[in-house]
């Protein structure tokens, strides 16, 4: 088919409203054209990249988006974001920006009452600990290499013995079991070791 079928004329919204004073409310609801109603959608995206993907904002609940057909505007419920639906492709950026904005304000105690409520709602929808772990710098730790093969075991300065994953253990390849070392360690959830860098050898502690 070459030509698209002609679109049916839109219902006369003005006419429907003009009846409202005389008609009962249930009837008005039936007369109101469906295409004028605000519609809700779940935004099915679970990860928003921040800092070029080095830091990720993981959404634990899909945000709801309400679209107003009349004004062609959409609103992310609870996030305080309103934008034209023509720019919906920019939504991940806007959400990441909004999150960073509120995070920075909370960090410097500059949230007003409205923003505080919004921030509380957003924190319920995102994995905030994972976001903070992603952006955290490595911590300086001291330890003793207990074993390198077949699994790498390190006795940390606090007395905990921890098994180090293969990727992170590569950094300790040049050490011998029994060596005391200090290093900057990128820690993940539950203090798991993600990477080890800037290693220095320390004088052994006499036991």
């Amino acid at each position: 088919m070459i030509f698209a079928p002609a679109l049916p004329p839109p219902p006369d919204a003005e006419a429907a409203e003009s009846y409202s004073p005389q008609l009962p409310s249930r009837l008005i609801a039936r007369i109101e054209p469906t295409w004028l109603r605000r519609q809700r959608y779940a935004y099915k995206r679970s990860v928003l990249p921040i800092e070029g993907g080095r830091v990720l904002l993981r959404l634990t609940e899909p945000p709801m988006i309400e679209v107003d057909p009349a004004s062609k505007e959409c609103e992310v419920i609870g996030w305080g974001i309103r934008m034209s639906r023509d720019f919906i492709h920019e939504l991940p950026k806007k959400m990441a920006r909004r999150f960073l904005d509120l995070f920075s304000k909370a960090d410097s105690s500059r949230l007003n009452e409205e923003e505080r409520q919004c921030w509380m709602g957003i924190l319920d929808q995102v994995d905030f600990p994972a976001f903070c772990i992603d952006r955290a710098a490595p911590h300086y730790l001291e330890g003793r290499l207990a074993r390198l093969d077949p699994v790498c075991l390190v006795d940390w300065h606090d007395g905990e013995r921890q098994q180090i994953g293969r990727e992170a253990a590569r950094s300790l390849g040049c050490l011998r079991p029994g060596d005391e070392f200090g290093a900057y360690v990128k820690l993940g959830k539950q203090n798991s070791v993600l990477s080890i860098e800037r290693i220095t050898l320390l004088a052994p502690v006499e036991e």
Partner: protein
């Protein structure tokens, strides 16, 4: 809060203790730094734009859950530390002592800061008019020397303002000992002690093997101690999956029964298992206050902030929201006051 003289952040660091006090000068006073991987290290590392002077780091005692992050803080911030206050409660050749404090001792040798002893009578900070002061009231020299274990000689730090004792940090001290140390001037708010499981509170194993009479006497003493302390508020810094069964539900109920408003930093199985299994935080206090969350566990109150103003302490603005959310848990031990049940009107606390 505008016009606050001090801001006190009680951090959620998992199983461990950490408090950061912001002084009027803009400097920080840190009481315990938390375990290895403590979020306070992340927070300090991110203060790039406005790095604050760390006036003092005070360790109530030398266990890893209170001092485990010390090497990480010293490595990055030794030039900004004024002094480190700690106990000499271990043999100097004890390898555990050496491993945790090697960095601290090296920093002192290099002349970055002084290490001082936590002892009764030491003043950690006072405002110029001397109305508000933070000082040490335990241990005395002999109490430190004669202590059978490190917890027994744990330092007790207090905040006094206009003659009132507002806050006490008894570290891991036994509750009976804490009550006797704090008897003269009782605190408005109590930190712990010992993550909600005071060392003298009978464990399950002890309950099984100890004679009934001994247990009954011990419990009576503990009840008396809690009643004599009678804090209006208590903050329990505890990790969700800690291996020591902290906090003891009985201890939380004991405090709640005296009308004390108890909050825990993290949710534990004594309150609800389902929320822990689904990793459902009650309130993410750390995020709300712009602090960093713990690397493990499920937050109940998370971190909490207090403001000192006109000689009184005021909690942050998320207090009521937390109470509302806690009331939806299955068995919130902190709300077991009288015959309170889920769905009923919230109990009234004396603040």
């Amino acid at each position: 809060m505008t016009g606050a003289e001090l801001t006190i952040d009680l951090w959620d660091v998992g199983q461990g203790d950490c408090t950061v006090i912001r002084l009027p000068s803009g400097g920080l006073l840190i009481i315990d730094v938390g375990p290895k991987g403590s979020p306070v290290v992340d927070w300090l590392n991110e203060r790039g734009r406005s790095p604050a002077q760390i006036e003092a780091i005070v360790l109530t005692h030398n266990d890893a859950d209170h001092a485990g992050s010390l090497p990480a803080i010293i490595a990055e911030h030794k030039r900004r530390i004024g002094a480190i206050w700690m106990l000499l409660d271990r043999e100097i050749h004890d390898p555990r002592f050496q491993k945790i404090f090697r960095a601290a001792l090296e920093g002192e040798d290099q002349g970055f800061y002084k290490i001082r002893r936590v002892e009764d009578g030491q003043e950690l900070w006072a405002d110029p008019s001397d109305r508000t002061r933070i000082h040490v009231i335990h241990p005395r020299f002999s109490q430190n020397m004669l202590a059978a274990n490190p917890n027994e000689s744990s330092g007790v730090i207090v905040l006094d303002s206009e003659g009132r004792r507002l806050f006490a940090w008894p570290g891991d001290l036994e509750i009976r000992k804490a009550a006797s140390v704090l008897a003269a001037n009782k605190p408005w708010m109590l930190f712990g002690p010992h993550h909600g499981g005071p060392s003298d509170y009978p464990t399950k194993a002890l309950r099984k093997r100890a004679p009934r009479e001994t247990l009954r006497n011990r419990m009576a003493e503990i009840r008396n101690a809690a009643a004599s302390l009678n804090p209006a508020r208590a903050f329990i810094s505890v990790g969700t999956r800690n291996k020591h069964n902290h906090p003891r539900p009985g201890y939380l109920r004991l405090l709640a029964a005296t009308g004390s408003r108890v909050v825990c930093s993290e949710l534990t199985t004594c309150c609800e298992r389902e929320a822990i299994r689904h990793h459902r935080h009650v309130l993410q206090g750390s995020g709300l206050l712009g602090l960093r969350p713990a690397r493990s566990g499920v937050s109940c109150r998370g971190s909490m902030r207090l403001y000192l103003k006109d000689g009184a302490l005021f909690p942050d603005e998320f207090d009521q929201e937390h109470l509302r959310r806690v009331a939806t848990l299955l068995r919130p031990q902190c709300l077991r006051v009288g015959d309170w049940r889920r769905g009923k009107q919230l109990p009234i606390f004396r603040d």
